[in-house]
């Protein structure tokens, strides 16, 4: 029986995966992908079946664990935000060479407009790079339906499948018709040697991957998700609408179109594109993210055929698609009221009472005493220390870069070089950099601001909780230079004294200000109160 459920795009994917017979989800939290794993963690069927759903330390460990589960014959899901694809890229690209046994779906949630991200890279590039099928749902229903399809495709092609979504689908709710659930695969480890990517084997596997490409193309040509809708107008503009772009095109109700080709499966269906081009006088490519399809269509149709899109200015080169910029590209003009005068931006800020606030107050006080000091930042709530009133940070690049950038700057002679990194980010990608610093006896001061959670994404478990002193000692930081403080205003004198001492120590020191995130603490207290009532 079909049941309708009101689901976020993320939740539709999660439920689709469970219903497809998932045995494990492997993920590191990252907006806008976090809710997928959270949904699976709290789903009764996941508990009943023992579906693995604990958070991983980073996207690379997640991808590799999924590959192991696949080797053992079971279906796995890997979820991450787009920049997580960079972290797991080694395992991801090579997984196309090893191939899979149990199906693997890799979910990349892109964030055009950078609502909560440091870039707007397009994960479809990764699918093309790895030579695997990519699915890009246009709505919540497709997101749910595609999961079963993706696992079947993955197992029949023996390749991982990349599912690419964007923020507006991930975080938008709609009613989804959900079906029944399939059972999980039995344990059946692979017997083949093709998992051993020694050069001699890898060369064979690469040839085999290339030999699969015509089959991938054929699947795209006949996919129900790639649909050419003909229009009446002869020789009007033809539209290629990828993923959710299709919705904005339909919303605009533009007239005079030669046809709309909805694309939700890659590699690109070349015959369908040629068919659209033949009946159109020009093709407009509407895609969220980077002009991936636009470039390929340009190459496919030749330089004389007019192809329009983000590269030609019909659509903006940066930022997400909106119903407004798509309508404009389709030639629809709308009258809108001018904006109000008395409106200013309201950027996010660290919560009142947050421990990171005390960390920055202390760091700013001490840093001001040393001419030429720099504080290198990292990714998390504490990146907001770059904004007023603190203005503390010189950099924020990628997970873990605070420590390694401080080290590189120190190598160049910069002093004091201070790194600020959160607990979850430290275990994600900071530990290896700290080992580099220790081995090089770099003159840096590392602050691991430990709030006992992955706070930015809503308070998920942090992989290193209760292990930070042991990790730092294990990596070789001198015991007398691993210092723990409690970031509270009343401890300011002690904290600033310790920061001074460790800056003055010539070598690697780690200061761990530790106090629970105010959000998770309040949530815990509310829960306790509710249970008492």
């Amino acid at each position: 029986m079909t049941v309708h459920k009101l689901l976020l795009g993320d939740e539709a994917i999660a439920l689709g995966a469970i219903h497809a017979g998932l045995s494990g989800v492997y993920a590191y939290p990252g907006t806008p992908s976090t809710e997928i794993t959270e949904f699976i963690q709290s789903h009764p069927l996941a508990k009943e079946r023992g579906i693995h759903s604990r958070w991983c330390t980073n996207e690379k460990t997640a991808m590799e664990a999924a590959l192991g589960m696949s080797y053992a014959g079971k279906r796995a899901l890997v979820c991450m935000k787009h920049v997580g694809m960079n972290v797991c890229a080694d395992a991801f690209v090579n997984s196309a060479l090893t191939g899979v046994k149990g199906g693997i779906v890799v979910l990349a949630a892109d964030d055009p407009s950078m609502h909560s991200s440091q870039n707007e890279q397009d994960s479809r590039f990764y699918g093309k790079f790895a030579l695997i099928p990519v699915l890009e749902p246009s709505n919540q229903q497709e997101a749910y339906d595609m999961m079963s399809e993706a696992y079947r495709m993955s197992e029949s092609l023996r390749l991982p499948v990349l599912l690419r979504i964007v923020t507006r689908l991930a975080h938008s709710r709609a009613s989804v018709a959900v079906g029944t659930t399939s059972g999980t695969n039995p344990l059946a480890p692979d017997e083949g040697k093709h998992w051993v990517l020694l050069p001699a084997i890898a060369r064979k596997q690469y040839v085999s991957l290339l030999e699969k490409q015509p089959a991938l193309l054929q699947l795209s040509e006949t996919s129900a998700y790639n649909r050419l809708e003909k229009a009446d107008t002869e020789k009007g503009i033809g539209i290629i609408a990828c993923g959710i772009a299709y919705n904005y095109v339909k919303e605009a109700q533009a007239e005079g179109l030669a046809g709309v080709l909805k694309i939700s499966q890659y590699p690109l269906p070349e015959e369908k594109i040629k068919q659209l081009a033949a009946q159109s006088r020009a093709v407009l490519v509407v895609e969220d993210g980077q002009p991936v399809v636009e470039q390929d269509v340009k190459a496919l149709l030749g330089c004389d055929y007019p192809v329009k899109g983000r590269l030609t200015g019909e659509l903006p080169r940066t930022g997400e698609l909106t119903p407004d910029n798509v309508a404009q590209a389709l030639g629809k003009k709308r009258q809108t009221a001018p904006g109000a005068k008395n409106v200013v931006g309201r950027p996010p800020a660290l919560c009142p009472g947050c421990g990171h606030r005390d960390v920055y107050t202390a760091l700013n006080k001490v840093a001001a005493e040393y001419e030429g000091s720099r504080i290198f930042g990292d990714i998390g709530c504490y990146t907001l220390g770059a904004l007023p009133p603190y203005n503390s940070l010189a950099s924020c690049v990628d997970m873990g870069a605070s420590i390694t950038m401080a080290k590189g700057a120190a190598d160049a002679g910069l002093w004091p070089a201070i790194a600020v990194i959160g607990d979850s980010t430290f275990t994600h990608s900071g530990m290896t950099g700290l080992l580099d610093a220790v081995n090089d006896k770099a003159n840096i001061t590392v602050v691991i601001s430990d709030n006992l959670t992955t706070a930015m994404t809503g308070g998920q478990d942090s992989a290193g909780t209760n292990k930070f002193e042991a990790i730092c000692l294990g990596l070789g930081v001198e015991p007398e230079h691993v210092r723990v403080v409690v970031p509270l205003p009343k401890n300011m004198e002690e904290i600033t004294r310790i920061i001074r001492e460790e800056i003055n120590y010539k070598g690697v020191s780690v200061i761990i200000p530790r106090r629970e995130c105010i959000q998770t603490l309040n949530r815990k207290l509310r829960k306790q109160k509710q249970q008492q009532q």
């Binding site: 976020l8 938008s172 709710r173 709609a174 119903p323 709308r334 009221a337 008395n342 200013v344 800020a349």
Partner: protein, 192 residues
């Protein structure tokens, strides 16, 4: 019929609760629905908004085009003004009149209130004070939903009340009755 609604406010003010109540009522009434939410970084005291689209016919875009919104429901006056270019000429702006000042460059509040008052169709009330006076201090958002109820049209106030009961079911009778009281308080100020 189709109704496009923008919910706005500051992270932590409870606009997603309003969205969930409307969403539940719309689903129970068999309407098509799309609701784009904001999660992540902006929830830390920054501006937040949610696009809520309700219709008797299928809906394509998750986002509302500019100039097509029927109702803006805002927990904060400046956040209401932020989205006026999304409003239809006949659209209603329903907002709390109480500024939440957590930034150093917040506009002059008098000029802000004047600009708000000059909007063609606006309903504004100090819902925070009303909620305190009614001894339901945590229900300001339900007063606002009550105020907006006559303009949502596509869902009846009775359906919204039922969904308030559903939403607070796990919190006990007292919380349910406080929130229904708050809803009625708002509804009585705007019902026609």
């Amino acid at each position: 019929m189709k109704k496009d609604i923008i919910l706005s406010g500051v992270g932590g003010q409870g606009i997603l609760s309003i969205a969930t109540v409307i969403g539940d009522a719309a689903t129970n009434a068999g309407l098509y629905l799309k609701q784009a939410e904001v999660h992540g970084m902006s929830q830390r005291g920054g501006d937040v908004q949610s696009h809520l689209r309700l219709s008797h016919d299928p809906i394509y875009s998750d986002l509302i085009p500019q100039g097509e919104t029927d109702v803006i429901i805002s927990m904060e006056p400046m956040e209401a003004l932020r989205y006026v270019s999304w409003l239809k000429p006949t659209g209603w702006l329903v907002t709390s009149s109480q500024p939440l000042i957590n930034i150093p460059n917040y506009p002059d509040t008098e000029a802000l209130q004047q600009e708000l008052a000059s909007q063609p169709q606006v309903a504004r009330l100090n819902i925070e004070t009303m909620a305190k006076e009614a001894q339901t201090p945590k229900s300001a958002n339900m007063i606002l939903l009550g105020m907006a109820a006559p303009y949502i049209e596509i869902i009846s106030p009775e359906d919204l009340r039922n969904s308030i009961i559903n939403f607070f079911k796990s919190k006990g009778e007292k919380i349910i009755s406080d929130n229904l009281k708050a809803f009625d308080l708002g509804y009585n100020t705007t019902k026609r």
